[in-house]
């Protein structure tokens, strides 16, 4: 005898319907027709959510369930689903509140692809109403009520779990640290969060083995570390480890520094199924550290050099001093001149000083009427600033002790110019109105220092002249001590 499956389907005492893979109705049975209050002829070819629209959470849950079936080829159930359906106009129209239990079964083709979904849905509205009216004991439905309450609990629990895992996924996705999950011996990316994707320059890594997804890190030891973790299960990682990434095909490779760890992922049996990658991009911190290291080295170097200069001033001052008292005041004055030059440089962040400022700083204690300073703007390198400040200090000190500034009425005139076309700086120093100048019998430290700085260090010349009218000198400084006008 031939069994007529269509008749059998129609005769089933429970509501059934069949959807295709696009969620369009193929057919519904008589019981389905009855509980949904719509004629069976309306269904075929119509989209399920067109027939029963629901923009709320219930609609989303139903859609998710269908999609799980399509994606996995496995059955899926919703134990408890509030879902309103339209009421036919002859029964008053509008929407009617209903509660359902749904079971979705896939029908696969020969290749294992889901072609149809069979839904068995049971209208449990009456039971729910009874539960809601549970103040009245109703022995006939007591068992059904308990079953339904259990179903509701299970469904609530599942929803909570889903929400929780969604929440975790979002947390991982947006975490500031980078995370990725690699699966299998080829380390196929099954998850990479936003920070990870940013780290690798926005490349799409998901679903690809690491050697194919990130070929630029070949030869840097990371594939091998992953292989090791996958084989042995031993965690590994690195701190501030240098990685060179080719983030974009047409740009230069970039150097980054990462803190990271690789940990094996195990299944319930303890077998390793993949590697969990997590870490932080430390590039900025490492760069800052490197800059600080350089600055510290440079500071240390400058301090050592300055100490060597101070040592020389102390030693040379003591060697040439007539007595301890004059040694002390000469030494203090020279250190002060050095300190003032540092102040001027510090004000310009150790980049330069202006010659006029260097002179003004040394002349500051004298009556401005006795000093005349004139020349074009000249900017000095840091080294030349310190050196010329010491030279000017010696000249001013000499003028105060033996020259024009040692007597009332004496005056100092300073004129300078820059020779044409990157030529040297020429400075003329003239003292008038003081005692006659005579060449010293013994060359003191001051004049030795001026000679060494101007001729040796600044590649120029120092020409003193001792006249009855007063001391004068001409100082020539090579152009490389001068930065610009």
């Amino acid at each position: 005898m031939q069994l007529d499956f269509e008749r059998l389907f129609d005769a089933l005492p429970s509501p059934y319907m069949v959807l295709d893979a696009k969620l369009n109705y193929i057919t519904v049975n008589a019981e389905y027709e009855r509980v949904t209050m719509r004629p069976a002829g309306e269904y075929p070819g119509r989209f399920v959510f067109e027939m029963f629209p629901n923009e709320g959470e219930s609609g989303r849950r139903l859609r998710d369930s269908f999609e799980r079936v399509l994606a996995t080829g496995q059955s899926d159930s919703i134990a408890y689903l509030p879902y309103d359906i339209p009421r036919p106009p002859e029964l008053g129209g509008g929407m009617e509140r209903r509660f359902w239990t749904c079971h979705h079964t896939p029908i696969l083709d020969d290749d294992g692809v889901v072609r149809f979904i069979v839904q068995n849905t049971v209208d449990v509205t009456e039971v729910v109403r009874l539960t809601e009216a549970a103040t009245i004991p109703f022995s006939a439905t007591a068992g059904a009520t308990r079953l339904l309450e259990r179903a509701r609990e299970v469904e609530e629990q599942r929803k909570a779990l889903l929400a929780e895992s969604d929440e975790f996924r979002r947390l991982f996705q947006q975490a500031p640290g980078f995370f990725a999950v690699l699966s299998g011996p080829e380390h196929v990316f099954t998850f990479a969060n936003d920070a990870y994707v940013r780290l690798v320059g926005g490349r799409n890594v998901t679903g690809r083995p690491i050697r194919e997804a990130l070929p630029d890190i070949a030869g840097q030891g990371f594939y091998e570390m992953l292989d090791e973790v996958y084989t042995t299960g031993r965690s590994t990682g690195g701190e501030a480890m240098r990685v060179v990434l080719q983030r974009h095909p047409n740009e230069a490779p970039e150097e980054v520094f990462l803190d990271f760890s690789y940990d094996a992922i195990c299944d319930r049996d303890g077998d390793i199924t993949g590697v969990f990658v997590q870490g932080m991009d430390r590039t900025e911190a490492v760069r800052t550290q490197q800059r600080q290291r350089l600055l510290l080295d440079e500071l240390n170097h400058r301090v050592k050099n300055t100490l060597a200069t101070v040592q020389s001033i102390a030693s040379q001052t003591l060697r040439s001093a007539r007595d301890l008292a004059s040694a002390r005041s000469d030494f203090e004055a020279r250190i002060l001149a050095l300190s003032k030059a540092h102040n001027l440089l510090s004000a310009q962040e150790w980049e330069s000083t202006r010659l006029a400022e260097v002179l003004a700083s040394e002349f500051s204690v004298y009556d401005a009427a006795r000093i005349s300073v004139e020349g074009p703007p000249v900017t000095l390198t840091p080294k030349a600033s310190i050196s010329l400040a010491l030279v000017v200090h010696e000249l001013v000190t000499n003028a105060a002790k033996y020259g024009a500034l040692s007597e009332a009425g004496g005056a100092v005139r300073v004129r300078w110019r820059l020779e044409e076309g990157d030529g040297p700086l020429v400075l003329e120093w003239t003292e008038r109105g003081g005692p006659p100048a005579t060449a010293p019998e013994r060359r003191g430290f001051g004049s030795r220092m001026i000679g060494a700085i101007v001729a040796g260090e600044l590649g120029g010349s120092f020409e003193p002249a001792y006249d009855p009218a007063g001391f004068s000198c001409r100082i020539v400084v090579s152009a490389d001590a001068v930065m610009k006008g």
Binding site: A308, R448, G456
Partner: protein
Amino acid sequence: MAPNDVPPGLAVFVVEDEALVALNLESMLDDLGCRVVGPAMRFDRAQAMIDEGVEADVAILDVNIGGRSVFDLAVQIRERGIPILFATGYGRGGIPGEWQHRPILQKPYTERDVGRAIREALAGAERTGD
């Protein structure tokens, strides 16, 4: 010879870009009984002296001359068979590997340090034959 002594009349080629430091080193070398060749305080001046065939028994080189590294000069001075020692504010970390075994004067240094470093440079030169 006393422990601090260096051979009398030793010719010392000095390359140092800080005039004050160079002056002080000159005084120390005077006290040690050495004869100062230079001092060259600028890179081009030091290069000119080497080109003119500078004669010296030992060379004291500041590693940074007006912002330029002294090691280009050091190679030429070594070629002339003059033992070298370096003066630096950076310490041994600022010396390239090739020159690491040379004596180093860490700034600031004393006359005793200078004497010791010169003796080391001379002894090292005898051992290696350069």
